[in-house]
């Protein structure tokens, strides 16, 4: 794998010998047909990302409701009314608290477990391909399918409780209001870990071997060299892992919808996207739903900035 990585590093992009340069090619570039090649993709990005994003912000500031296609109705500007409604709704506040609980468990666990497993995997070891594949299997399987088996494992009389015997929590995992969200956080950690292990595996190829040798020359043990060489060496990857894990957490929908039967018990595992779906589509208030969405995006951005400072703090 390391061989593959080194051979595939790309040459400097777009560097090309200076050809004939007319006025037209300085304005449009040397191959203006490139614009035609990217047009479908650009139209797609505009229609599926840019426009909906702007539309969501628009809806969140207006009294917006569903109408028949083509109907012309007045949708008055209401300022921050939707945001006030959203922020004073205990169900919404609970969902944001839930995603905070989720992230506090999921992000550190993801970083630690994926780095440790990637580190363990990054050696000439027996069954290496088997391990790599097995770690990636939950990531490629559909969450809907995997949720089915977790329900079977973690229900009241499931295998997990049978094995735990008297130690089994009561009420059981998914119907216990203080355990439902942590169980979802652990499920998602487990499901996504394979992807992050691969990210760390790639990052580990870039940690200089000389540093390990220097560390062991200085008498550093295995743990010390892991802490002083590996951890700082993969810091850029850690920044990426933390960011992606946060975005995944903010997107949480399928798991609370299916694993805890719609965010139960009593909203203890409802995620913002689930509440957004319930209020925006089930109850027909897309303006409220959009306001939740906008708040969530702002939350993720803010969190990403904080995490970035925190994770890459020692670089400065």
């Amino acid at each position: 794998m390391s061989r593959r990585l080194t051979t595939t590093s790309p040459p400097a992009g777009g560097a090309r010998p200076a050809g004939r340069r007319g006025l037209l090619s300085t304005v449009l570039g040397e191959q203006p047909i490139g614009s035609a090649f990217v047009t479908p993709y650009l139209v797609f990005l505009a229609a599926i990302f840019a426009y909906p994003l702007a539309f969501a912000v628009y809806m969140s500031f207006h009294d917006y409701f569903f109408t028949a296609p083509g109907a012309i109705v007045d949708r008055p500007f209401v300022g921050f009314d939707n945001y006030v409604t959203v922020l004073s709704d205990p169900a919404v506040r609970r969902s944001f608290l839930n995603v905070a609980i989720f992230l506090v468990i999921n992000v550190p666990l993801t970083v630690i477990m994926s780095l440790v497993l990637a580190y363990a995997l990054n050696a000439a070891i027996r069954w290496r391909t088997f391990f790599r594949v097995s770690y990636y299997v939950p990531y490629v399987a559909a969450s809907v399918a995997v949720v089915g088996v977790w329900l079977f494992l973690f229900n009241e009389n499931g295998l997990v409780n049978t094995v735990l015997g008297p130690l089994a929590p009561n009420p059981s995992w998914l119907v216990n209001s203080s355990l439902a969200m942590p169980t979802i956080a652990i499920y998602v950690t487990w499901k996504q870990l394979g992807f992050f292990i691969l990210l760390y595996l790639a990052a580990l190829q870039n940690v200089s071997k000389d540093l390990y040798e220097a560390a062991s020359m200085d008498g550093a043990g295995r743990f010390k060299s892991f802490w002083n060489v590996t951890v700082p060496g993969v810091r850029p990857a850690t920044t990426l892992v933390v960011l992606l894990a946060t975005v995944t957490g903010a997107n949480l929908f399928t798991e609370p919808y299916l694993l805890t039967g719609g965010g139960g018990p009593n909203g203890a595992s409802a995620s913002p996207v689930l509440v957004m779906y319930q209020k925006g589509i089930e109850q027909g208030n897309p303006d409220i739903g959009s306001a939740i969405g906008v708040l969530l995006v702002l939350g993720v951005l803010l969190l990403a900035l904080i995490e970035r400072r925190f994770v890459s703090r020692e670089d400065r």
């Binding site: 595939t8 040459p11 490139g34 990005l45 391990f131 299997v137 089915g148 494992l153 595996l201």
Partner: protein, 280 residues
């Protein structure tokens, strides 16, 4: 090359083995559970027992949600996304890697930006647009549209096209070949592995997607398997004779194609993730 300490107690190997068990056991259990006549949540139930094995659960789930039709819908949804990505994504990837044109940097920046926009957050406006304004509810087109071009795949195509030597393209241009011709005759045959990787990366998105098709398909005969299985799970399951068995049977059918494809082409999957990880 890599620090190995194999002589001592094999902590490394044991850690990996425990990890593999934790990752694989639920899948094994899914398969066993789908074949049990009676769900057996005891430890013994984790081992196959000849007296308790049956294919009945697969018949049951097929009766409830029409596996064939659901699989076909998943296939059309996924196939449409793959087609869109292979045609328009390859074009965009090629232009971003090999053509000098105004605005290339902007398009490249957008492509990276899109990958961190949480898609679920666009759900409400997309729902209003596609379902309410364009009336595309319960249609394949409505299902496919938001996923039509996979940006990760565009990125992968660009990386592969970048690696080709510039002389090839200079020679083609001197010969007067059109860019489309160069792409079709010269560039694409040289990046076949990238196309396979693109298909694989694109495949797991729509095949596993739940929220979007769930929102826009109310007719059961148009629902992809992920949606019909989850509807079975939330509504019908409580009334079935062996609900877990039937759900797990459906889960096996849903998970199997993605897992099988991944195991068959694991080399392409892993290298692509590594590369986008390093460079993304």
């Amino acid at each position: 090359m890599i620090t190995t300490r194999q002589r001592r107690f094999p902590w490394r190997f044991l850690t990996l083995l425990v990890g593999a068990f934790i990752f694989l056991f639920p899948f094994y259990y899914m398969l066993i559970g789908s074949l049990q006549t009676e769900p057996d949540p005891t430890v013994r139930g984790a081992f196959p027992e000849p007296g308790n094995l049956t294919g009945e659960n697969y018949v049951e789930i097929d009766k409830a949600i029409d596996l064939g039709k659901s699989l076909l819908n998943s296939g059309i949804f996924t196939g449409g996304v793959i087609l869109g990505t292979m045609v328009f994504g390859v074009l965009a990837g090629y232009a971003l890697a090999r053509l000098q044109f105004r605005g290339r940097g902007v398009v490249f920046g957008l492509m990276l930006l899109v990958q961190v926009v949480p898609f679920q957050l666009l759900t409400i406006p997309l729902y209003v647009m596609i379902v309410r304004s364009y009336g595309l509810a319960d249609s394949y087109l409505g299902m496919i549209a938001p996923f039509a071009i996979n940006s990760v795949a565009v990125f992968i195509f660009r990386q592969y096209f970048l690696q080709l030597p510039q002389e090839l393209f200079d020679a083609a241009r001197i010969d007067g070949a059109s860019e489309l011709n160069t792409l079709w005759r010269i560039a694409i045959p040289l990046v076949r592995p990238a196309l396979l990787t693109g298909v694989l990366v694109t495949f797991i998105g729509p095949w596993n997607e739940f929220l979007w098709p769930f929102l826009i398909t109310k007719q059961q005969d148009l629902q992809p398997l992920a949606v019909s299985l989850s509807n079975y799970l939330t509504t019908v399951a409580s009334r079935a004779a062996n609900p877990f068995g039937a759900v797990l049977a459906g889960a096996c059918v849903l998970a199997a194609p993605a897992v099988a494809l991944f195991i068959a082409f694991q080399r392409q999957f892993i290298s692509s993730s590594l590369e986008s990880g390093v460079k993304g």
